[in-house]
Symmetry: C2
Subunit: 296 residues, 2 copies
């Protein structure tokens, strides 16, 4: 019976298929029926519940606006600093989507992340997508760069597994991590930042390959150089190049709006293991080179 | 005159060339003459001062033994835990090399690392090579893995720049960072560890490209799977594969001795930007793929 009812749902994915196998999550089934009737049913994101870490940030804000065009059910923005005027602006963009802000610093202990996520899951019942977007670009701040860009992302991801992991009876989920092209090939003047982004890319590729065990699919969006306040001025490692920002911006870049449009397109493609390269308004799925194979 | 005297020195490198431009470092010139007369002058490592972080570890111990065959002047081993019997064993291997042990935890604040390095530089006057080898393989320990494998390596590297950076009047130096093949392509069952090693690989590639500014050349040695106590049993992320160690060891591996031999060969090649892949007793310099170019 479930299989039969599933068929009309166009955006069915790994997560929703999984949940049909688990009688305790039958309420999921009703959600899917509701989604099939969504007014913007052509959008993968219609009626979804999305958590966006750093959804008010440089890339985050325009991406949040772009997401709101897709009739999400809920957009929960977690960010370090509340910016009430921006949250108000987002709330007014689409009455179909409930926008919520909750303060969150990704460097808190993992137990704190779990507590916050529990509040969100208790309220929304299900979360479809987690976007991890917290980032620092300042190679004078070694500990902070690594703690936010890599450790914070790993901890937030690990925390949500308590609610998503199918081995714990969870429904699975979709993880969208913001990497960077510097994770492929560094901006050598910011080696600490670039290294932290290489870590994010490598980490997320693994998670995608573990989806058959955890039920959680994963991909990265990796923006090229964007004209943001983050890039306008930043410190290079040991000041090896004080003008690194200016030099970067002499070459072709993209606006946050262009990046946001590609970002949401990548989310809609919903490709497990996607390694999305977002540059100058384009979107490309990179094929990573195999240098060796652990064979397991 | 200096140029003329330089010619007979077979192992002259970026660092020693640089120091000839700086009259205040003329004592370096005498060191080089001494090295040219070294009994094992065919070895690049003869009469060198080497700091080895984690030189008593799983890979470290056999690599230390292999280094001692090269008539170093000093081998300063920094490790978290003193193992006096191992240090004694190393001291007895080659009377030409002075082996010293000093306790060091790479997770201390950078100011502590600088203090320790100052002691070493005060004593030895010059340090030729720093080997960064501290590592944890345990994906239950997220913070520790990242703090040791990446942050600790970056901090130790940043700390030694106070003494090496040619912009500060230093003589330059050679940085050898232990990465891992998991930094190229992950062992997906340990995504946190693999990500931290991807960070090391990316970070070190940048440093190599900054050598013309800092005077410090850099490369990574990236071992494949080794039969060590580290690999015999380790935790996968969220226990996605409890038998990950056993599974890995079902495939061809290498002994620590084989790895150590390749490791020291890589050091002797002294290739700035080298991305050394050490697997099953072989040594190969990997060419990293260019996915994009920041053009600066």
């Amino acid at each position: 019976m479930y299989t039969k009812l599933c068929r009309p749902v166009p955006s069915i994915n790994f997560r929703t298929v999984t949940c049909f196998c688990k009688p305790r999550q039958l309420n999921k089934y009703y959600n899917i029926i509701a989604r099939a009737n969504c007014s913007a049913s052509s959008s993968f994101l219609c009626d979804k519940n999305v958590i966006f870490v750093a959804g008010l940030g440089d890339i985050g804000l325009d991406t949040s606006k772009e997401l709101l065009k897709r009739d999400l059910k809920n957009l929960v923005i977690l960010d370090r600093i509340d910016k009430p005027e921006l949250v108000c602006e987002l709330k007014e963009l689409n009455p179909k989507t409930k926008v919520t802000f909750m303060p969150y610093d990704v460097t808190v202990p993992i137990a704190e992340s779990k507590k916050l996520l529990k509040k969100i899951f208790d309220k929304l019942k299900c979360v479809d997508i987690l976007i991890n977007g917290a980032g620092i670009l300042d190679d004078h701040k070694i500990e902070a760069t690594i703690a936010v860009n890599y450790t914070g992302l790993v901890n937030t991801t690990t925390a949500i597994m308590d609610f998503w992991d199918i081995r714990k009876g969870g429904p699975g989920g979709i993880l969208c991590n913001i990497g960077s092209v510097t994770g492929f090939n560094a901006i050598t003047q910011v080696p600490v930042y670039s290294g932290s982004k290489a870590a994010v890319v490598n980490f997320t590729r693994s998670l995608a390959k573990l989806a058959h065990i955890t039920g959680v699919t994963a991909y990265t969006v990796n923006p090229g150089i964007i004209r943001t306040s983050l890039v306008a001025k930043f410190n290079s490692w040991l000041d090896v190049e004080p003008d690194v920002a200016e030099l970067l911006l002499e070459h072709p870049t993209q606006s946050t709006k262009e990046c946001a449009a590609s970002f949401v397109k990548a989310i809609e493609k919903n490709k497990n293991g996607g390694l999305w390269f977002l540059d100058q308004g384009t979107l490309e799925n990179i094929k990573w080179r195999k240098y060796w194979d652990p064979c397991i």
